[in-house]
């Protein structure tokens, strides 16, 4: 567990939970079993839970219902873009990523159900990120605008990171409330960054160095993008983790006699700045 001077991540999460519970009276935690996890054992998985609605008006709002559908469409697009990007970089770089939908599964807003045991098992099932959230509408005068609280859990980071960085992030959208907020809400730019951190962590453990280093470099760019919308201590910590693990993965690739890829050509580098 990392701690910022005077404030621990656990304390922040507890405060966040209370706040979320206060504004989400309708949402209730229900971590039902996700039986689809065992399908496609060779693929890395992005688990998409059922979005909850914060209130009855939100549940009955047609725009929010449409947003829910658009989100899933957007996630599929993001994953396809990632695969295409990897292919462009290296024809042999396969990124077997797929979305697994867990109908009826609604973890608590703060993700307290993601214990170390659960994270280990999800990681074993090749889950790189699990996402859940609560949708709401904000009424200002006669206009309504959608808002959301989205939780992201990265099981490989929680399992292998051993507390180096928070593995669960809960973000509120729109972050800034500006004109781009609708786009931001539909795209959830952090999703692909978090998925890549999880993917890189697993690929590094499997000694798939090319995939791991590619995933970490893309994740780093994604986290930097996310920080533009609003930097947090948790994102800073995750960025430091990604930089460090990317460096150690490159170092391992250079010394691994079973590996003969392009990372062998890189000059030795001291991996400083360990989280």
């Amino acid at each position: 567990m990392i701690s910022i001077p005077g404030i621990s991540i656990r304390a922040v999460r507890t405060v966040m939970s209370c706040w979320l519970l206060a504004i989400c009276p309708m949402a209730h935690a229900a971590l039902i079993n996700c039986a689809n996890l065992n399908l496609n054992p060779g693929d890395y998985k992005v688990v998409l839970d059922d979005f909850a609605f914060a209130s009855l008006p939100a549940k009955n709002n047609a725009d929010l219902a449409a947003l829910k559908d658009r989100l899933q469409f957007s996630f599929n697009g993001q994953l396809e873009a990632l695969k295409a990007s990897a292919k462009k970089l290296n024809q042999n770089l396969q990124v077997p990523l797929r979305i697994v939908t867990c109908v009826g599964r609604q973890p608590s807003p703060s993700g307290d159900e993601f214990t170390d045991e659960l994270a280990e098992h999800l990681s074993d099932e090749r889950v790189v990120v699990e996402m859940w959230g609560t949708l709401d509408i904000k009424v200002v005068g006669t206009t309504t605008s959608p808002r959301a609280m989205i939780g992201y859990a990265m099981p490989p980071v929680q399992h292998y990171g051993a507390g180096e960085t928070p593995a669960i992030h809960v973000l509120v959208y729109p972050k800034s409330g500006n004109a781009q907020s609708a786009d931001e809400l539909e795209n959830l730019p952090e999703l692909s960054a978090f998925a890549l951190v999880g993917l890189g962590t697993k690929a590094a453990r499997a000694s798939h160095y090319d995939l791991a280093v590619w995933a970490f470099s893309r994740a780093e760019a994604g986290i930097l993008d996310a920080k533009l919308g609003g930097s947090t201590a948790e994102l800073d910590s995750l960025l430091a983790y990604v930089k460090h693990i990317a460096c150690t993965t490159r170092a391992r690739a250079r010394t691994d006699q079973n590996y003969a890829g392009s990372l062998k050509l890189l000059p030795p580098q001291a991996c400083e700045g360990a989280p």
């Binding site: 971590l31 689809n36 065992n38 060779g42 090749r126 697993k202």
Partner: protein
């Protein structure tokens, strides 16, 4: 010879005849006794036979009746177990929280080794159910090591393509937490075998054939299995030394 003397002579002849007959009768009696020296048992059997056979029929009748009754009662009990276990297993599957799933798995575990198969089956069904089944198996293992450790060891080492690698990893964990010290040697051998695989793709592909699904078995899988074995051995070895 006078009449009197003649009568005495006849009388004497008859008396001698009587003695001769008596002697012959005694000789016959002696011969008869020689001919059937151990006839006592048979006599007893002949005497008591009808009663003994009646008694045997009575006892066999009781025994058969009891066996049938016990068998019927066992069948009835098994049927009740199946129904109750089915309901509990459904409870594990349908639980909406981890604690609820755990509670149902614990109840299922109360059926002892009969619950092993349904719980192992649930190790390959998602995440919440998997963790609940794992806890149930640990409960069974720790309460009856003698009966369950060989079953757990067979499941962990199965090469029949019946289980995923994740299920076998869980069985290794269960072996450790159940205190199956008899499995120490087996775990050490398995660890040596895994260490020999390294990251060689060909060796890994060959090794993966033992699982129901060979996709997704890679260097991380091997490292995870070795870590699990190490944890199990950390639990088991001190139990042998003490």
């Amino acid at each position: 010879m006078t009449d009197t003397e003649q009568q005495i002579a006849e009388l004497q002849a008859r008396v001698e005849n009587v003695f001769a007959i008596d002697a012959r009768l005694k000789a016959l009696d002696a011969d008869i006794r020689k001919l059937k020296p151990s006839s006592g048992v048979r006599d007893w059997l002949q005497t008591l036979g009808p009663y003994v056979s009646g008694l045997i029929v009575l006892l066999v009748g009781f025994w058969i009746k009891d066996s049938v009754t016990i068998a019927l009662q066992r069948e009835t009990l098994d049927l009740a177990y199946v129904t109750q276990m089915r309901d509990l297993a459904k409870g594990v599957d349908d639980s909406s929280t981890q604690p609820a799933a755990d509670a149902n798995a614990m109840w299922l575990a109360m059926y002892g080794k009969h619950a092993i198969n349904p719980l192992v089956e649930r190790l390959e069904s998602g995440d919440v159910v998997h963790l609940a089944a794992e806890r149930g198996l640990m409960l069974i293992g720790s309460s009856d090591q003698k009966a369950t450790c060989p079953i757990f060891a067979a499941l962990a080492m199965d090469k029949g393509r019946r289980f995923t690698w994740s299920t076998q990893k869980t069985m290794i964990k269960v072996i450790g937490q159940s205190g199956c010290v008899s499995a120490i040697r087996m775990l050490e051998d398995y660890k040596s075998q895994l260490a020999g695989l390294g990251t060689d793709d060909k060796k890994l592909a060959n090794f993966a054939l033992r699982f129901s699904e060979s996709k997704g078995v890679d260097g991380e899988t091997v490292a995870a299995l070795i870590d699990e074995i190490d944890e199990a051995l950390q639990i088991l070895k001190p139990q042998v030394q003490s």
